[in-house]
Amino acid sequence: MTDRNIENEVLETIREHNIKPTPRWEFTLKDSAIWISGILCILIGAMATSVLISYARIDDWRIVLESARHPAMMILKGLPYFWILCLIGFLGIAYVNIRNTKRGYILSLGAFAAIGIGASLILGVILYDAGFGNIIERAIIKSARPPMMFLMHPRMMMWSDPDRGMLAGTVLDIRDAQTFSLQDAEGRMWMVRTDQNVSTFIKPRVMIRSIGQRIGESEFFAVRISPWPDRTPIFFPPPR
């Protein structure tokens, strides 16, 4: 048993320093803020998931595997690392936040990962179906500049490698049946030649992706041309 009178000491300290209990609303606010930020993180994770789903659904990978000179390298270049890290990062922040709520500590990391990834996947599918993955892609291309654009839109980076036979951009005008000019993601102008009759399927202000070979400083010979997969076919990259 202690010789000190702890009760008296504690009450005396409380009186002397006018210590008061923290108001209840502060605890409620803190708990709510943590839950809201946890849910926001899961929503951002869901947005990242919708972008990942749009990456998985488009046929870039098939075209690259069939026609590119260095398919494995191109695919590695085009993988959405940023969005995968985004998903993992925000789920991680959500986990830390939710663990600090009143009851959140009962969730193990495994249980949270399952719930978090499950929720992100379900919400991600809903957002993707609503066109969100596409909206984010277009927003990045419209507002971001390389290298930031390439970080967040690795598909664009993959298709912006004319030295390795990959070129994408917006068609500016059709010169003749087998020649057109194009502006790429970095704002450079290209004269694209091909042995196909492009006038039947290419129009100005349309984005395309092509596989071929660089034949000059600003010239490219395309052996395969495909439209850029997008719900809205007309798109302009940001000018230099």
Binding site: T2, R4, V10, P21, T22, P23, Y105, S108
Partner: protein, 198 residues
């Protein structure tokens, strides 16, 4: 001067928390109920002496007072109080960069016996040596394993309470107890001199 209402002495801990929000002196009853238990706990898990433990106890009760509105009535008051005590003690020895070895008190013998039998060292050791051997082994253990054995066997907390105090899922608590017992046995095996120097 503390003005105590005799009615307060009959109230449950949870009621006292509520009353303390409007009658500060009622908090003294809660302090009186928990000070001995918490001082023993603080001594068990940290490296402080008795005087320093009293200072730490003051700090703990001030924190409890400040957090009265944060008490969740669906939890047991003792678990909540222990959680604050645990966090304060751990924070204290981390600030000092110390490796806490803990002190066990006389009166802990029956509880130490329980720990000894759970970890199977009893069959090789005389009864009177067991208590000291257990104390010595505990002092050599990793703090995170020592504290969980202390909560389970010396503070006699159940898994649910330990989960709340340490803010860990129940599955993690079970794993930690299992690993703690293993480390306890491993230390006992690798330090046979413990049983002969007592």
């Amino acid at each position: 001067m503390i003005h105590l209402d005799p009615e307060w002495l009959k109230k449950t801990d949870e009621d006292l928390i509520r009353i303390s929000l409007t009658h500060r002196d009622a908090f003294a009853v809660l302090v009186e109920r928990y000070q001995a238990k918490l001082k023993r706990y603080v001594l068990r898990i940290s490296d402080v002496g008795s005087e320093e433990a009293d200072d730490l106890l003051q700090e703990i009760f001030i924190k409890i007072y400040k957090n009265l509105n944060g008490f969740d009535p669906e939890q047991k008051c003792s678990s909540w109080v222990y959680r604050i005590a645990h966090n304060t003690a751990v924070s204290h020895y981390r600030k000092r960069n110390a490796r806490p070895e803990g002190h066990l008190e006389t009166g802990d013998e029956s509880l130490l016996e329980r720990l000894a039998s759970e970890t199977d060292i009893s069959k090789d050791v005389e009864a009177r040596e067991r208590t000291s051997a257990v104390q010595h082994i505990l002092s050599l253990m990793d703090p995170k394993y020592r504290e969980i054995l202390i909560l389970k066997f010396l503070e006699e907390k159940d898994y649910h309470e330990i989960s709340f105090i340490l803010k860990k899922p129940m599955g993690t608590v079970a794993t930690l107890i299992h690993r703690a017992k293993k480390q306890f046995k491993d230390i006992a095996k690798s330090h046979p001199s413990i049983f002969h120097t007592i």
